[in-house]
Amino acid sequence: MKFWRQRKDEELEAEIRNHLDEAIRDRIERGESPDEARANALREFGNVGLVKEVTRTMWGWASLERLGQDLRFGLRMLFKQPGFTLIAVSTLALGIGVNTALFTGFNLLLRPKPIKDPETVVKLERRGGQYGSFSYAEYIALRDQAQSLSVWLPIYGDLFLMGETTTGVAPEVIEGTFVSEHYLSALGGRMQLGRFFSTEENRVAGRDAVIVLSHSFWQRRFAGNPDIVGQSLLLNGKSFTVIGVTNPTFIGLAMEMPDLWVPLMMRSAMLSANTEDFNGTHPDWFGKPEVHWLGLHARLQPGRSFAEAQTELQAVISQLPRTTKTQESKVTIELTPYSGQELRRESVRNTLALVLGASGLVLLIACSNLANMLLARTAARQKELGVRLALGASRLRVLRQLLTESLLLACLGGIAGVLLAWWSSEIILPWGFAKWDGRDFARMAMNTTPDWRVFSFAFLLTLLSGFAFGLIPALRATNLNLIAFIKDESAAFGGRFARSRLRNGLVVTQIALCLMLLIPAGLLLRGLSKALATDPGYAVKNLLVMEYSLEQSGYDQARAEMFHQQLQERLRSLPGVARVSRLNSNVKAATIVLPSERGATEQRFEPAPYRRVTAEYLATIGVPLVLGRDFTEEEARLSAPVVIVSETTARRLWPNENPLGKTLRAEQRLRNGDLKIDVPTAMVIGVARDAQTQRVGEIPPLYFYAPSEEKHPEGAFLIRTTGEPARLKEQLVKEALALEPVLRVYTPYSMEEAIARSRAVSETRSLSELTMGLGALALVLAALGIYGVLAFSVAQRSHEIGIRMALGAQTSSVQMLVVKQAMTLVMLGIAIGLPGAIAVAHVLRSLLLGLSATDPIAYSGVALLLLIVALIAAWVPARRAAHVDPMIALRHQ
């Protein structure tokens, strides 16, 4: 192509020379002198360079050729100013990198699941009835009758107690999943060691005690011991033989891999009782149709539509006989595609929009920084551009050249950004997932290597930002008053003035965008610290919770009750323990009804949360009574018709009256329409102080306590300690295991830990960390932007400053000039960004833990921060302004 082009150029050259020669010859023949003839011929011909240029465009591949020229020229320009290029590329790399890294995280949800043909897998959910899961009978009926679905995958996840049950070693609670024998092959999984279970091993209920370990569990617990196959493990006190270990990429249908897989038919041998059936009898998992426990997935048969399958399943399920015990009105089956489930969850979509929106703001700030840098640079290149335009280059041509340069810059930034994102996502993502979702990254077998989605996202961002920061400076640079430029550079003052206004405008935009990130960050942070610092109404310090379950211990109800009591006594006698109360962690909700009184009608309120508590509960958790008395042990044992209401509740139900002695009842409407009385008409015997025991930072508008003893295999104790509770944790577990070695006991946690781990707090905390990180980035970029504009303006105004100083202005007043400019920019930015920030804060309202979305302290704090940062950014330019030498400045122009 090069050769061809060279020849074409030479030909054109010859053609034009020829034309001129003949024109001259003609003129000489007509009697003009040779010199005159030459001059006239040239004048008549016109601009030779321009004719060539226009003619070349007719060759067709000219645009490609021009692109090559522009690229070469652009690269030369970038290499000529390595400092500028470095700052520009790293600014962009940060902006694009942050966005790409965060997108990589969300892309993990978009990627197809690591199973065979994930798009044909559907998830079945039981809706409309009393139960969400399917009974074994329903599963069998659906599997055998539905033609549009095949490869049925029943699944049930449970916790097991693994380990020695007789020695003093604490058993470990692990996660297992009951699956059918073709679970692995149907999902395209492979084995690392050994084999998966056979059809025969999943045929007879409770017969074949075999398990398959997941890769992460094998690594974690057995350090990848290759001799594990054939060994026995104790699960819930029963011996199981390990027959295989799955491949590291096999997760199954869940988000993360369980510790092990157990044949579905072994469910009945696991001694695990449903709390409802806690009477020593175990439910008939495979026989009784009212035992609902299975989650179902299946594959859509080729050629069958979603709607067909839906109709068919509906027909099958409605033909099934209903037992008398489960009086379900109408059961429907909801069919959803297995792929893309996470994205259909609204909370995930909201988080995605919020996070990418926030990181998008950072990129916008980075882009406006670059636009500012380019404006400054094109100002320096004005002469070059002016000459090119004056020599006849079209505006479009120069514009294209400048845009090519910015896109080149954007591409370099994009490449660096993708590399940065790739590197950082390996670190950030596991941390982020653990933080946000409490998920173990190693178990998710996620592939963080960027795929085509990540690359296209980054490419799109690169293109967009290239145009975003390049277009305005390029338009501005090519819109010149040519005559003024050719005559004298300094005469183009008007253009320059407009340009500085544009630069200031960009900085104001940056401040406004920055504010939209920093205000939410400030609000979240303040909401968090305020929620954690305010008195929650109960004594948070020195409070421990210990949870355990007797499910695996094979107790009947009486034996369990004895255990709870014995353990409570043992814990009470421990040194350092002040009080111990049984705890029902289950908070229920029911509608409060005030019975009719003196002819008035019944009064109903909205569903209110309430807690069943023992006689020691309020004293142990540290909620003081404002009026009346606490429950007695007698009342707790008999679940007597007495209640204690919260202060707010008392004020709301009986304003200006003595609540003691009043009566209320609590009931709820069941899904099948029946009315269930939760608390029969009971007398108020006490008023307790308002406490945030429900949700951090929130006092429920209605809340009450009813007395009851616990009758559950699940046990929990609330323990009030006299000193630092952390060192008691181990002792508590020891006491429990000393009473019963086959006990699923969880590590005790302090109330402070529970609050930190609570969904509300952890959500707010991770979001505040994210927005603070992005906000800090934005702040640094904005500070750079302010610095750049001020430095440029000081350089530009050095003449003016020189005159001022020559006329006797103090250095301090010159410095003030710069500082005032900085403050004006920040103030304008704050004023413009404020509505946006308020809007964002409004969206985040539910995450602020009770803090007002217009909290004045957060707003003024952020504004102050911005002003301080602007002052720091103005420092160097202000000093430079003060050191302007009037003589030099005046001589300069």
Binding site: E15, I16, N18, V51, V54, T55, T57, M58, W59, G60
Partner: protein, 116 residues
Amino acid sequence: MKREYENRIDLLQGTLDLLILQTLQWGPRHGYVISQAIRAGSGEALNVDTGSLYPALHRLERKKWIKAEWTVSEYNQKVKSYRLTAAGKKQLAAERSNWERLTAAMAGILNPTEGA
């Protein structure tokens, strides 16, 4: 000097192609000769700007309506002369009839009595 150009008419958009093709009808010509021929043929009324002529020649060449050949001129110089191709002849006929219809229509509008 300036006066010389005053009576000249600016070429209508697209008519230059027609003029070039028409000029080449009588045999191969090179750029200078084409411009002189158009100027002379129009009685000095039409002036062909070189900034339009050469791009037009290269465009027509690319469309394969004319073909360029390097020949030796009467002054023993290598010159690039253009020759009408078969496709070019067809194009010329089409553009001619277009032009005739256009001038007839224009005449009809400008001189309504003649048309009636």
